[in-house]
Structure formats: structure tokens, C-alpha cells
């Protein structure tokens, strides 16, 4: 038992609210930060990496960048591209559950989580899932924990499935209005085209292809568009993943950043504010002041939800509200993992 883990346990056993923190790169995200800070970065390091089994296991405080460097030596990646937003840790990445540009085609971070070691609200160390690809023993608690914003327990270790770096990549650019871009993206999605990522903003659709050399070459010929040189393309996708483009990083006067998660086939939203669309139409970013209630209703009508991602007035809630039935299940799960309300109170919903 490491000293750090013992220290975490004694803090948890004080039964006072704790604000769990890795690199602090997502402090802006979710509800208010409440409680005394518990910094996980002292609990760091890669525990195991098996390139030929596509699995890496690391302590929660390990920087995401350190994990990606280790993977790069074997030409492997975290295919879902979780954002660093500065100096994210792997524990924080899993707690937040955010994925980057390739999410629509390769799956989300949750899809790559194989196992977690968790400390619950009574200081017990619990292992769920494992280090193997296929595992149906017990309920899938490791995926339940992914994206729970630290409200169910302190993540101590995570095991993730890793993927090979695509053999070939290419980036294409098209001039296209939003409705045409959405049609094109959904159409290509149903064909054997090696799509990896997409971004539509301000009448420009940028498309990333990844896969076998032959497949990428053939797709470039078929789809047309303007081919972007690789260094520029890599910088573009990195800036999108890290939200450092002017759309995201512009001054606060541009208004809060909303994230709408919608069925990819949802037609263009009739909202007079700048849009940036990713994930083949399934993730739509909006920038500017807007009536939160109306926006959530619009998202719900389309079969999705809206998150006040960055900035703005959080008093009206950050995440779309849950139905009473779903909230009751959430409340019971929270109660069983964290009976004394220690972990990140109010970060996900005020009730949890």
C-alpha cells in the first residue's frame, strides 16, 4: 500500500467534502468546485503497458501527455483523443469522460475504458473491470465511473484499450454551407470511407481520413476537395482537440460556450450565433448569450442535450436536467458509493 493511497484514505475517512483534482485543466467544467482540495498528482506513473495486447494501466495522477509519449514509442494512441486542456491527468480525463475529434468514428473514452481501481466514500479500494478486452464479470462499474465527474469515488488507477496509429492520414477541405455539410457527412458515414474526424465552421468543412494507405488514397480521389499539407493539418486537429482555435479561445465577450450533443442527422439549428460542428454532426458548439431553457428544449426536441461547457451563468444548471426516475437511480447509486457526500458534491448535479 503506497503512502499516497493511505493519505487519500485518511482524508476520505474525515467525511468532509473533497474536491478531487488532477491537473486542474477542467476546473472550468461542471458545477461549482466545493470542498477541500485533494490533489491526485502524487499518485502517478504507468504501471503496465502491453503494446501487443493493446492495454495500458496507469495511476490516476499520471499526466495524459506521459501516457501518450509512452504509446508513441510503439506507434500507438488513445484513439478517442481526450483533450489535455493544459496538463490533464489520466484520472481527470476518465472522470470527465471527454473525447476529441475522432470520437464519432472510433468511439468515446468510455468505450476504451477496460477497468478502474476506485476508492469509495468509506475508504475501500475496489477493482472493477480489468486489463483484458472482453470481460463481462459483474456490472460494468468502470464505465459507470467514466464521466461521473468524480462524484462516485476517487479513481486510483485506470486501464485503457489503446490502438495503433493509423498507417496513413489525410485532411481535405471543402467550401460548403451547413446543411450541405451535414448531408454529406451523414452520407459518407454510411459508406466504407475511412473517415476519422470532421469539423464544419463558417462555411468550411474539414475532413480527416485515416486508415490503410490504399483506403486513404482512394477516398481522397473519390471525395475531391482541397488536400491540406500534413503539418498544417496536424496543427488544425490538435487545436480543435485542445479548443485553442479563435472560435473556442476568443475573449469572454464572445459569450459562453455551449455544447449540444444531438443525433448527427439533426438539421441546422435556427439560432443566430456562431456554430462549430464536429463528430459528423453529432457535436455542435455554440458561442454566445442564449436562453438556457429554450436551448435545452431545442436540444431535447431533437433527441439530445445541451451543456453549458465554458463560461456563462451556471445558476441555471450546467447539464440538462434528468427525468425524476433517472435522477432517483442516480441518487441511489451516489448513496451507495459515497454515503457521506465526500466526493465533488454538486459538480455533476446539485442533488448528487
Amino acid at each position: 500500500m503506497s503512502d499516497q493511497v493511505e493519505e487519500f484514505r485518511s482524508r476520505i475517512l474525515e467525511r468532509k467534502p473533497l474536491r478531487l483534482k488532477g491537473g486542474g485543466s477542467k476546473d472550468f467544467y461542471g458545477g461549482p468546485l466545493q470542498g477541500e482540495m485533494l490533489d491526485t498528482r502524487s499518485h502517478s506513473g504507468i504501471i503496465g503497458y502491453e503494446p501487443t495486447e493493446l492495454v495500458i494501466t496507469a495511476r490516476a495522477g499520471t499526466p495524459l501527455a506521459e501516457i501518450e509519449s509512452a504509446l508513441a514509442t510503439r506507434r500507438q494512441v488513445l484513439a478517442c483523443e481526450p483533450p489535455h486542456f493544459g496538463n490533464a491527468t489520466i484520472g481527470g480525463a476518465v472522470a470527465a469522460g471527454l473525447s476529441g475529434p475522432r470520437r464519432a468514428t472510433v468511439g468515446s473514452l468510455r468505450d476504451f475504458v477496460l477497468g478502474v481501481k476506485l476508492m469509495d466514500g468509506e475508504g475501500r479500494e475496489l477493482n472493477f473491470g480489468g486489463q483484458v478486452m472482453k470481460n463481462v464479470a459483474g456490472f460494468d462499474v468502470s464505465r459507470l465511473v467514466t464521466g461521473s465527474l468524480g462524484t462516485l469515488g476517487l479513481i486510483l488507477e485506470v486501464s485503457l484499450k489503446v490502438m495503433p496509429l493509423p498507417v496513413a492520414q489525410a485532411t481535405l477541405r471543402f467550401e460548403m454551407p451547413q446543411d450541405k455539410a451535414l448531408d454529406a457527412l451523414n452520407g459518407w458515414g454510411g459508406q466504407p470511407v475511412p473517415l476519422a474526424a470532421s469539423c464544419w465552421h463558417d462555411t468550411v468543412l474539414t475532413l480527416r481520413l485515416a486508415g490503410a494507405q490504399a483506403a486513404v488514397t482512394a477516398a481522397c480521389e473519390r471525395l475531391g476537395g482541397e488536400r491540406i499539407a500534413e503539418p498544417e493539418a496536424a496543427a488544425f486537429w490538435a487545436a480543435l482537440r485542445e479548443q485553442t482555435t479563435p472560435f473556442f479561445a476568443g475573449p469572454d465577450t464572445h459569450g459562453p460556450l455551449w455544447r449540444l450533443s444531438l443525433p448527427s442527422v439533426t438539421p441546422p439549428l435556427d439560432l443566430p450565433m456562431p456554430h462549430l460542428i464536429e463528430w459528423g454532426g453529432a457535436q455542435r458548439w455554440l458561442r454566445g448569450a442564449v436562453d438556457a431553457v429554450q436551448l435545452r428544449e431545442t436540444a431535447a426536441r431533437a433527441g439530445g442535450h445541451a451543456t453549458l461547457f465554458r463560461g456563462g451563468d451556471k445558476a441555471g444548471g450546467v447539464f440538462s436536467p434528468l427525468s425524476p426516475g433517472l435522477m432517483e437511480v442516480h441518487r441511489r447509486l451516489k448513496q451507495s458509493f459515497d454515503p457521506y457526500g465526500v466526493f465533488n458534491p454538486g459538480r455533476l448535479y446539485p442533488e448528487l
Binding site: 503494446p51 501487443t52 495486447e53 492495454v55 468511439g107 468515446s108 468510455r110 468505450d111 475501500r124 475496489l126 477493482n127 472493477f128 480489468g130 483484458v132 478486452m133 472482453k134 470481460n135 463481462v136 464479470a137 459483474g138 456490472f139 460494468d140 462499474v141 464505465r143 459507470l144 467514466t146 464521466g147 490502438m163 495503433p164 496509429l165 451523414n186 454510411g190 459508406q191 466504407p192 470511407v193 486508415g211 490504399a214 483506403a215 488514397t217 450533443s261 444531438l262 443525433p263 448527427s264 442527422v265 463528430w279 453529432a282 457535436q283 433527441g303 439530445g304 442535450h305 451543456t307 440538462s320 434528468l322 433517472l326 442516480h330 441511489r332 447509486l333 451507495s336 458509493f337 455533476l348
Partner: protein
């Protein structure tokens, strides 16, 4: 297991039990007469699932035809605190759908409609009793298919796939059920209906969809599912090769993955399994090989040519001989036929067999197979091995004859040892078949008391009275204390 030993098959039917009579009367009020079975001969077909060694007769079988009837049955049972076991096609291999005595089996067999195929959104909305393969058939005109392909896909239903988080031979590349189901409509034990997930790519709050998938019917009854459809690859080819040892075959698999290739399928069979299937399907397998490896590539013709060439080179470099690349779709299907028919093929050479389902880190393959061979001698029972080599999921098939006194018990003990071995090397007792009742005691080897308590708490969050499929998947402390007496616990 294919054994028919009758531990509980002819349990009392409780005819005349006033609780049973009252329940039947209430169910008759909410179901049409044809949707309620209670005569012993009508209940018999439901006494077990694919794990035929365990059986039990329920008080009744309900065959509702719509959501309202499902909800009504659940409410009646909830009010009377009668256990309910949901059932699809009954093809499960771990006893997840074995009835509970003095309980009701809720069959979703009549929920057979494909409600919507949306080719643009690449989604299918289906009822839970729709067969796995029927979704792909309905999507085929659009060049799409449903990727997870368990061997039972002709018969098994999507509701059962959700309950078990089913895999298949293509799941290394295309994922398991959890990666391919986006939304569920679920009825909880108290009759409350919930929508979990959506047609968007994520949802606010906890990931209850992940929790529901693989929950073995213990959290809710699926009454509708939306699944992802995937563009059908233009073409596929498989390379079949022989190895003089399983170690070499394992090394070749590692080399393929290390080279950055994720094959569409990557399957291994040992000598005993190969002999059994060759005798059955005559696919031309190499009977002299210690292990046969099938490696498949799919995609465009150019992609497949590129990947097959790369894999062939790696296979030869790692000791493969007798490489054969399928030259037509018919030949590809022939090479696969044996692998897909491995279980029935083994079934032909033995009166009974039991299929294990551990997953192991592949680096321990040689140790595990050596140990299985030793155990095979110890228990005097033959064992053939079929291996999803890409993801480490091992299916030892233990052969026995239930008519010989004590042999079933020996097979069960042998199987338990294999599961413990899987946990010892850092793996799991079940990769894709589920825990059910078959492996419920081995859960005590893989999980601590505290972890099992959490599983019970998760169940209670959905089903506080523990009425939905009780006694499956998660053991109670008494199971573990019994089990730990045998000295095999952690």
C-alpha cells in the same frame, strides 16, 4: 453444457399453492389467455436456457405482446413480490435465463418487430425479441449491418445480447454489444419505464447504458433497443496457417498487433478442436498442426490486399507454415465454417461438453494451455481449446459423459480450476457468456466481498426488492463462504 442430469427438472409445480393461484388469477386479468402459460407441459420448454444442466420450472410463463402488458406483468409480480426472469431466445450459455422456482418467466419472444431502419443516421430501432442476424438482413439493402456476431446469431435476440454484452469473432475490430447499442427503453421491476441513452453520442449524468448492457437481466427488462449500423466492408479475405506449437501461434498474433494491424478476425484452434471440426465440416484444416490460426482482413479490395500481404509476411516470420489465403467468398466461408461450428463439432465427439469462457492476457497463453493440459490428465477428461486470439478470450471445451457416475462433478471441478487459473494470470472468469448461475461461485474468486457488495448496491438502485432475475451473476456471502472452504479463494 449439454448434460441432462436432472437436479431440479421435476421440482414441484406447486399446483394448488394459494399464492400461485392468486398470482395466476391476477396475471390472467392483464394478459390474453394465449399469453399466459401455467400447465406443466407448457412450462417445460422454458425450464432451462443453453445451459441445460440447470433447470427449474417456474410458476408461470408470460408472453406479453406489447409494452403495456410487460408493465402490467411486472407490476403484478412486484406487488406480490414474485421473482421475474426475462428471456429472449434462450440461447445463453451461463444460465442467465434459468427460471426461478416460484417465479415468472417473462418471455420477450413476441417482441419481434424491427421498428425502424434509418440508413442516413445508421441506426436501427428494434424490439428485444428481434434476432441478431435479422437486423443485418434488414439493413443489407442499405449496405449496412449490425456488427456484433455471436456464434448463435441466427437464433439469439438483441434483448439477450444486451443482457449478456455479447461479442463475436469480429469484436476486436468492431466492438462488443456495449459499443454498438446507443439507446434502450427499459421497464424496471416496479413497472416504471425509462429511456436510457439516446440517438446522440452521449447523455447527461451517469452512464447507465453501460451499466444496463451486460447486466444479465437483473436491472431492468429491455423493451426496445436502438443499435448502430456499420457500413458493410466491400470485401474480406482470410489467411489460414498452421503452427507447430501454440507458443509460436501466440507470438505470431502478438507480432500482427505490434505491427499496427487490427484484423477483422483472429481465431486460434488447438489440435483436438481442429480434428473435431475437420471431421464435421471438411474445410481442409491441417490435422498435423498443433494450432491453426485464422486471420481475416476486411475493407476495400486495396486495403485487404495490403493487410493480407502484411499479415502473411508476419505469420511466416513467426513460424507459420502451410499458409492458405481464401480466393473466393465461398472459400472464406469454408475456412470460417469450422471455427463457427466448433462447439457443435465437439458436441459430436463427446456425449456432453462444458464450454468455459475465461479471458486471459495473451502473454500467458502458453502457461494457461500447459496447465489446462495437466488438469485434463488430472481429471481424466479431454479438453479442446478454441481461442479468440485477438482479445484473449479462451473457450476450453471440457468433454465428459454425464451417464458415468461422478463425471459431471469432475467436469464442473475442472472448469472451476480453469476459471481460477484465468483470474490468477490477471484475467476474468467470463469474457462474453456471462456469469449466470454457472459461474456465480467463481465470482468470489475474482471479486472481494466489498466489490460484490457494490454490485448488490447497483442492483438495488434499480430493483430494491431483488425480484428481477435474483440469484444470478452476483453471489451472496453464503455462496462465497461455501466456496472459500474449498481453499481456492483469494
Amino acid at each position: 453444457m449439454t448434460s441432462q442430469h436432472d437436479n431440479s427438472a421435476d421440482r414441484e409445480q406447486d399446483v394448488g399453492n394459494p399464492d400461485r393461484e392468486a398470482l395466476l388469477a391476477e396475471l390472467a386479468r392483464v394478459l390474453p389467455p394465449a399469453a399466459l402459460l401455467s400447465a406443466t407441459e407448457d412450462l417445460k420448454p422454458y425450464e432451462c436456457d443453453g445451459l441445460t444442466a440447470y433447470s427449474a420450472l417456474p410458476w408461470a410463463v408470460a408472453l406479453p405482446q406489447n409494452d403495456e402488458q410487460v408493465v402490467a406483468v411486472l407490476k403484478v409480480c412486484h406487488a406480490r413480490q414474485v421473482p421475474v426472469v426475462a428471456r429472449g431466445a434462450g440461447t445463453g450459455l451461463s444460465g442467465g435465463a434459468t427460471p426461478v422456482v416460484q417465479g415468472v418467466v417473462l418471455s420477450l419472444a413476441r417482441f419481434m418487430r424491427i421498428l425502424e431502419i434509418d440508413p442516413l443516421a445508421r441506426l436501427a430501432r428494434v424490439q428485444p425479441g428481434v434476432r441478431n442476424l435479422a437486423i443485418s438482413e434488414a439493413a443489407a439493402p442499405y449496405g449496412l449491418y449490425y456488427a456484433p456476431d455471436p456464434s448463435s446469431q441466427i437464433a439469439c435476440t438483441i434483448g439477450g445480447n444486451v443482457a449478456e454484452n455479447s461479442g463475436g469473432v469480429h469484436c476486436l475490430k468492431y466492438g462488443l454489444t456495449v459499443h454498438n447499442v446507443v439507446k434502450l427503453r427499459v421497464a424496471l421491476m416496479n413497472g416504471e419505464v425509462m429511456e436510457i441513452g439516446s440517438h446522440a453520442l452521449d447523455d447527461p449524468g451517469y452512464d447507465l447504458l453501460a451499466l444496463m448492457i451486460g447486466s444479465e437481466g437483473m436491472l431492468g427488462v429491455v423493451i426496445e433497443a436502438s443499435v448502430k449500423l456499420t457500413p458493410k466492408p466491400r470485401t474480406a479475405q482470410v489467411v489460414m496457417s498452421s503452427f507447430d506449437s501454440v507458443i509460436e501461434a501466440g507470438n505470431a498474433v502478438a507480432a500482427i498487433i505490434a505491427a499496427g494491424i487490427i484484423p477483422a478476425g483472429l481465431e486460434m484452434m488447438d489440435k483436438l478442436a481442429t480434428a473435431a471440426v475437420e471431421d464435421f465440416v471438411h474445410a481442409g484444416y491441417d490435422l498435423t498442426a498443433a494450432a491453426i490460426l485464422l486471420a481475416e482482413s476486411d475493407g476495400t479490395a486495396e486495403e485487404v490486399a495490403e493487410e493480407i500481404a502484411a499479415m502473411s509476411a508476419l505469420l511466416e516470420k513467426n513460424g507459420a507454415r502451410n499458409l492458405r489465403i481464401s480466393q473466393s467468398e465461398a472459400e472464406r466461408l469454408k475456412y470460417w465454417a469450422g471455427r463457427k461450428a466448433a462447439f457443435p463439432a465437439v458436441g459430436r465427439i463427446t456425449p456432453d461438453y462444458m464450454c468455459m469462457d475465461g479471458t486471459i492476457p495473451r502473454k500467458h497463453l502458453s502457461h494457461v494451455l500447459t496447465r489446462i493440459a495437466e488438469l485434463s490428465e488430472e481429471f481424466h477428461l479431454r479438453c479442446a481449446n478454441v481461442f479468440h486470439a485477438g482479445d484473449g478470450n479462451l473457450h476450453p471445451l471440457i468433454m465428459f459423459d454425464a451417464r458415468n457416475p461422478g463425471e459431471t462433478e469432475r467436469a464442473i471441478a475442472f472448469g472451476a480450476k480453469i476459471l481460477e487459473l484465468s483470474v490468477d494470470v490477471g484475467g476474468t472468469i467470463t469474457g462474453e457468456h456471462g456469469v449466470g448461475i454457472e459461474k456465480v461461485k467463481q465470482m468470489c474468486v475474482q471479486f472481494s466481498r466489498e466489490e460484490l457488495d457494490k454490485f448488490h448496491a447497483v442492483k438495488a438502485a434499480f430493483d430494491p426488492l431483488t425480484l428481477l432475475n435474483p440469484g444470478k451473476a452476483v453471489p451472496y456471502p453464503r455462496h462465497c463462504s461455501e466456496y472459500r472452504l474449498t481453499g481456492s479463494a483469494r
